[in-house]
Amino acid sequence: MNWQDIAAQLFPAGHQIVQQDHFLCGTAQVGDAASGTEQTVAVIGTCKHAEIGVEIALMQASAVLEVVREHPRRAILLLVDTQGQRLRHRDEMLGINSYMAHLGKCIALAQQLGHPVLALVYDQALSGGFLTSGLMADACYALPDASIRVMDLTAMARITKLPLARLQELAASNPVFAPGAENFLRMGALAALWQGDLAQALQSALAQPHPSDQRAQWGSERGGRTLAHPVVQAVLASANTVPHA
């Protein structure tokens, strides 16, 4: 999926997003003056199935910090298209986990200072690259055709030494193993899928409050991930039952 086409649909009033290799950054206009919903949003993202190495993690973090510094409370939209973290010795030697954590912390700072942070998986999202982008947002959305997964089943079979045929069979019926936006919706990782009028979908999402991490609850309500929420609730309930030694 071409990011320019998505941006045109999201921002009919115009945008100033600039692509630099696999990195996207800029601003866009959302809403309209007539209804009093006009606002500028910051857009930060990746394209062309970006692999997230130390450089692009740092570029995204820098862009988030600039919004926090220059435009208090401005909404941020993360556009997600990533094949995951870069698999290189050099990145590990330099501490890629620190670079990715830094990006996560920058997004968290923005959230804590009152910036709404939304994300849209418009093409592909995998593992580490997804953790520090879409999965950090107040609410993550996806296009119905988006490809979301941890890794492909062949690699998973090799690493876990489980039979590929068994994984394929499970993936057909079980959202835990199956890739795809619909399954991540059922498991609560996504707030919703966006179809039809993307500009309208974005505007509605921006108007909605996203108070806290509701993903475990969504997973439970939607039947795709049923144990996470009760476990969290059981831990919280222990506040009243287990005395401090």
Partner: protein, 308 residues
């Protein structure tokens, strides 16, 4: 002296915390209510605690909430229940406001047997930890287990206020085996244990500034470092929260690291550029000697990176 590396997660808790102070939350139940719902269909064994132990305890008299991942069960990897216990513990900390949350991390990251559920669970753990930063509750990470601290949990670790490692501990993102299988043995030879150690081990992380304390492989040493680090952190509670100034500083430090070391091929070259006169000797130094060597290099005004 009790080795941290060789101890189980439960033994680590026993010797790290004040004597008999640990009280488990969600202890094992007869009906196995909190075991993985996904492993049976893959004919994989389950664990009654799903590979992580959480609870309340005291550390030198101070109330703490604590979690310890058990590397002996699926390498400490995070599944749905495992992750929910960690995220739940951190949400509990928001209410109880302990003096600290201690995370004894040992994990390969997402448990592939629970694929999507594991990934989402790690994301929930990360968000829950970052909420503790806003609440100014100190989060300390201890790394010294045989399975290291990898994948999403390697990211989670670096979201905490401080990391304490032994030289046997390893902290990184993708495991060497994964990199080798995708990019080939020329990229990263996973069987070259010395290279793996130089790239991901506690000493390299300490020299880069990614861990704040390097200790010997003894549970007692981890305990003392945790007490000291916690006292230091809680002396300036405003510094516990994320701040624009703090993250701008981290941004500059990480950019500087790329500039200083981005063209180098080998951790030994990084250590030399940090000003360690005999980088080959690093493998032979104990934690105290390495700290002294780094301090001497800093005094000599060579380019170095501060911990963040």
């Amino acid at each position: 002296m009790k080795s941290y590396l060789e101890a189980s997660a439960r033994q680590r808790l026993q010797y790290l915390l004040d004597e008999a102070s640990f009280v488990e939350i969600l202890p094992p139940t007869a009906d196995g209510a909190f075991t993985s719902p996904h492993l049976a269909q893959l004919d994989a064994p389950t664990a009654f605690d799903d590979g992580v132990i959480i609870g309340r305890a005291r550390l030198q008299g101070q109330a703490v909430l604590v979690a310890a991942q058990e590397g002996g069960f699926m390498g400490g990897a995070v599944g749905e229940v495992h992750g929910a216990k960690l995220a739940g513990l951190m949400q509990l900390a928001l209410h109880e406001k302990p003096q600290a949350v201690l995370l004894l991390l040992e994990s390969g990251g997402v448990r592939l047997h629970e694929a999507n559920a594991g990934l989402i669970a790690v994301a929930e753990v990360m968000r829950a930890l970052l909420a503790l930063r806003a609440a100014k509750i100190a989060v300390l990470v201890l790394i010294g287990g045989a399975n290291g601290c990898f994948g999403g949990i390697g990211i989670v670790a670096r979201c905490a206020n401080a990391i304490i490692m032994s030289e046997q501990g390893r902290l990184a993102m993708s495991g060497p085996e994964v990199i080798e299988s995708v990019q080939g043995v020329e990229e990263f030879d996973a069987r070259d244990k010395a290279l793996v150690w130089r790239t991901t081990g506690g000493k390299h992380r300490y020299l880069l500034g990614d861990c704040q304390q390097l200790v010997e492989d003894e549970i007692a040493a981890f305990r003392q470092a945790a007490i000291d680090t916690l006292a230091q952190l809680n002396r300036a509670p405003d510094g516990l929260a994320l701040s624009l100034a703090g993250l701008q500083q981290e941004q500059a430090q990480l950019a500087q690291r790329l500039q200083d070391f981005g063209e180098l091929a080998e951790p030994l070259e990084i250590w030399r550029k940090l000003g360690l006169a005999q980088p080959q000797q690093v493998a032979l130094m104990d934690a105290t000697q390495l700290q002294a060597a780094l301090a001497a290099a800093r005094d000599a005004d060579k380019p170095v990176q501060e911990g963040v």
